[in-house]
């Protein structure tokens, strides 16, 4: 089968799927709602200052995609020594790709933890092979397994068993655990524990004490590698170049409706015929907004409705009149402003009642070193990610609540980054509803659905967990499918195999 393919969605997964399909000889047209890159794309938030996007972290990018699509020939480079600087109330730790450097940095706060950090990575190395194999293969259909699914499951079980009984049981013990407990088993320093575990809990309506969060941490740690120089924007640029060189026809058009097996209507009134449609839009947008309700079985509609995508992340974009000075020896361009896992848990608690915390957990991304074009000469941009802020804030996201959150965040930033406050010349706050509107992701959820245990393996629903949908000719390839959201390109690559079949 060699029919043309229409790809909907210009984010990293849409671009990846488009590239793979074009490479396989298909004629590919890609429609993108806004600028290419989706959540990793630029927009001007203050005159002369541009945002680097909501997603920037690229350590989960699959190396297989980079080599398959020859992204390094399209300008992609990996940073040898990049990472995160954890800034606590009275200490800092630089967690970079260099284990030796990181160990030394940890030694500054705890000699015991420095040694444990080596052992921690030795453990991760010992279980890495079967877990990455699992996360880089199409997911099994657990609800209605075919022979291939059962064989795949047995193979995965066999690979896990090859670790030896003790390690296998340890992996099985770890996945359903709360990160708090596992981090506690390894380390004593609060800042280190919080800095390592924060990314595993923030997008899933979970906090360090939530069961199952350890599965996320394991997945992130075993698939994590070096960051891309220039982060998400650079990845987008490389994917766009690769797509263009493979002949993908890229058009900036917004889809108004999908008629599976036939084509799409765009908001500018054009009808585009396509028997095969591959989309990286989030599942709720695809099924609950772009498909007519009559097309959905009641049960399927119910399951998609129940699929949880409650955005928790806000972003405060800061235009600053000079680059932020960090410790000279730190190569990190990401900062985690946390104190302990307990403080992260406390910043989570109020969202259950529709409020945000007085002390949110913050991450700061400083893109200007790699992307000077984002700000005028000598100036810079800082993108502050605020965890946790509820999509459906009690009383709504009013001008007042936005101002209150902005004030809180700037005040908190000032405590850990005293040089920053005086440099701010402009800002924009993107609350979850703004992220939803700007980037077209339901609930403003940047991973296209929460990464909770029940939504990781069977993602988004049993009908669609292997990228195909109940509608022939409609295939999902975004973060709302296995193995989940983020700039990994894995769903796009895995889904393109389904189409290629």
């Amino acid at each position: 089968m060699n029919s043309p393919v229409l790809v909907l969605g210009g984010d990293s997964n849409g671009l990846t799927a488009a590239c793979y399909l074009a490479k396989a000889g298909r004629s590919v047209t890609l429609l993108t709602h806004g600028p290419l890159g989706g959540l990793a794309s630029r927009h001007e938030f203050h005159p002369g200052y541009q945002s680097p996007g909501v997603l920037g972290e690229t350590s989960g990018l699959r190396r297989s995609v980079v080599s398959d699509l020859q992204l390094e020939q399209h300008g992609l480079r990996f940073a040898d020594n990049a990472g995160v600087l954890a800034i606590g109330p009275d200490s800092t730790i630089a967690i970079t790709n260099s284990r030796d450097a990181t160990t030394e940095s940890i030694r500054g706060v705890s000699a015991r933890d420095a040694d444990r950090y080596r052992e921690y990575f030795q453990f991760l190395d010992s279980v890495r092979a079967p877990l990455t194999q699992f996360l880089n293969s199409p997911p099994p259909d657990l609800v209605d397994p075919s022979f291939t699914d059962i064989r795949g499951l047995l193979m995965r079980g066999f690979q896990l068993r090859r670790l030896g009984k003790a390690l296998m049981l340890e992996v099985l013990r770890l996945a359903p655990m709360a990160v708090y407990d596992w981090m506690d088993e390894w380390f004593e320093n609060d800042l280190l524990k919080a800095a390592l575990a924060l990314p595993a809990v923030t997008e899933s309506y979970t906090a360090p004490w939530s069961a199952g969060t350890n599965a996320n941490l394991l997945a992130q740690q075993v698939t994590g590698g070096n960051d891309v120089v220039g982060d998400g924007l650079a990845l987008t640029d490389a994917l766009v170049q690769a797509a263009r060189s493979l002949g993908v026809d890229i058009r900036e058009q917004t889809v108004a409706s999908i008629d599976p097996g036939r084509g799409v209507e765009t908001t500018d009134g054009e009808s585009i015929s396509a028997t095969t449609i591959v989309t990286s839009l989030d599942p709720k947008t695809v099924f609950l907004r772009l498909l007519r309700p009559e097309l959905l079985d009641h049960g399927f509609e119910q399951r998609i409705t129940n699929y949880r995508a409650r955005g928790l992340r806000s972003q405060l974009l800061l235009a600053i009149d000079r680059p932020l000075k960090l410790r000279d020896e730190t190569p990190a361009n990401r900062l985690r402003l946390v104190s302990s896992l307990a403080s992260v848990e406390r910043s989570f608690d109020p969202i259950k009642y529709g409020r945000f915390s007085d002390e949110p957990s913050l991450e700061v991304y400083l893109p200007s070193a790699d992307h000077p074009e984002l700000a005028p000469d000598g100036h810079a941009v800082a993108a502050v990610t605020i965890h946790y802020t509820p999509y459906d804030l009690a009383g709504g996201w009013t001008e007042r609540s936005r101002e209150e959150l902005t004030r809180l965040v700037i005040q908190q930033l000032g405590e850990r980054l005293p040089d920053l406050a005086d440099t701010i010349v402009g800002h924009e706050l993107l609350a979850p509803p703004d992220i939803e509107t700007r980037y077209g992701v339901t609930g403003g959820h940047v991973f296209h659905g929460e990464h909770s245990l029940d939504q990781l393996l069977v993602r988004p629903t049993p009908e669609c967990c292997q990228y195909t949908t109940p509608f022939p000719g409609l295939v999902l390839c975004g973060g709302g499918t296995f193995p989940g959201g983020g700039l990994t390109c894995a769903p796009g690559a895995l889904a393109s195999r389904v189409v290629a079949k």
């Binding site: 609950l288 309700p293 009559e294 079985d297 009641h298 049960g299 399927f300 509609e301 409705t305």
Partner: protein, 396 residues
């Protein structure tokens, strides 16, 4: 504890038998007299007035009301014209029936739904993306079912030509004693008949006006026992008796599809997708496993069963609804009779049954279980169409 219908002040005075039951949470009269027979004959020869208020009632309105109902119902409700009523059923994703009822189109964007079971949640679950308002109006309205060959005359007396000209499965909005009412030419007796909807606050004046006009027509208040006999004669299925709503069934084999219940005529497959469509289409192509049929007892053989014990033949006092197994001539079970009654009009012992399609041909002889003097035995029945009684006046 059940609640009173808005007609209770009248019906409770008339119900000298004190025979009540709980129908969908309301007090409902089984029979006003100790025996339902007079009420049955009122339905068939004059007119019976029954309080049908306990039916679940919903108003669905808004720009997408027709679209929503077409998605839920087996019929294309968008094609239903204003002023018309249709009978239909609704299914789950697997095409298994959940309930049956009527849909009336009162205005361009206003529909009314009746159901045997609570259906608000199901309508709302399927309405998330539609511009509709769904209101449970069960207690807001009272319904009187005026059924029987003289019902037209009675309503004509109180409402005039608006009703006498009303055709089968049409509705009209008029007044009775200056109170607004909606009258539909529908019913559950298989005879000429009407259902009158009024505001609960207007229930008693409306009841009084109809009963007063009915005095010259031998109108009788009638209860559920008489209705049950009439509906068996008419071959109408009943939820909870002849089939079970799929969301109550613990096992698949207990569920039914519209085709299996003889309701295939309410299923419109070739239209926009609706819930259960793909499974119903498959079933239509494949053929159903079960058929809904009428069974007519061989009277001579039935009499002989009793004669063996020196007894005269005994037919059930009213309609029965305890299922009985049905067998083929070799003794293999091929189905079950789900309800039945002695028909005083047709002078026949009748049953409604689900039997395997291979045994559903009209005229086929089967055996049904019968217990006489504590002895369980089998007696012959002949398969027929379930609609035993279908007078011209019903539609005319």
């Amino acid at each position: 504890m059940p609640i009173e219908s808005p007609f209770h002040a009248r019906t409770s005075q008339l119900c000298t038998s004190m025979r009540w039951k709980d129908w969908a949470g309301y007090f409902a009269v089984c029979s006003y007299e100790p025996c339902h027979e007079q009420e049955y004959f009122a339905y068939r020869h004059a007119a019976g007035l029954m309080d049908a208020t306990p039916l679940f009632k919903y108003t669905v309105s808004g720009a997408d009301a027709g679209r929503l109902l077409s998605r839920v119902m087996t019929r294309d409700i968008t094609k239903l014209r204003v002023g018309r009523v249709t009978y239909c059923c609704w299914c789950d994703d697997a095409g298994k029936i959940m309930d049956d009822g009527t849909v009336s189109r009162l205005d361009d964007d206003v529909y009314r739904v009746t159901a045997a079971e609570p259906t608000l949640h199901w309508l709302r679950l399927n309405a998330r993306r539609y511009q509709v308002a769904i209101e449970d109006v069960t207690t807001k309205y009272g319904i009187l079912a005026l059924q029987g060959p003289l019902s037209r005359g009675i309503l004509g007396h109180v409402c005039g030509r608006a009703v006498t000209d009303l055709r089968f499965f049409r509705l009209t909005q008029t007044t009775i004693d200056r109170r607004p009412v909606t009258i539909t030419r529908t019913g559950y007796t298989g005879d000429l008949g009407y259902e009158v909807w009024c505001d609960s606050a207007d229930a008693l004046p409306v009841y009084d006006a109809i009963t007063e006009a009915g005095q010259n027509y031998r109108l009788m208040p009638a209860g559920l026992d008489a209705l049950d006999v009439a509906r068996v004669e008419a071959g109408f299925v009943m939820n909870g008796v002849d089939y079970h709503s799929s969301n109550h069934c613990l096992i698949e084999s207990r569920k039914s599809t519209p085709y299996e219940l003889g309701l295939g005529w309410t299923v419109q497959l070739d239209r926009d997708p609706f819930i259960g469509q793909s499974k119903l289409r498959e079933e239509k192509q494949r053929g159903s496993q079960w058929s809904f049929v009428g069974l007519d007892y061989d009277w001579v053989a039935f009499e002989r069963l009793f004669a063996r014990h020196d007894l005269p033949p005994q037919t059930p006092h009213g309609a029965w609804r305890d299922p009985l197994p049905v067998f083929d001539r070799t003794g293999r079970q091929v189905g079950q009779a789900t309800s039945g009654a002695w028909s005083p009009t047709l002078k026949k012992n009748l049953a409604l049954a689900s039997v395997k399609r291979s045994h559903a041909a009209e005229g086929r002889e089967l055996l049904i279980e019968a217990t006489v003097e504590f002895e369980r035995t089998r007696t012959p029945v002949t398969v027929s169409a379930p609609m035993f009684f279908d007078p011209e006046r019903k539609r005319g």
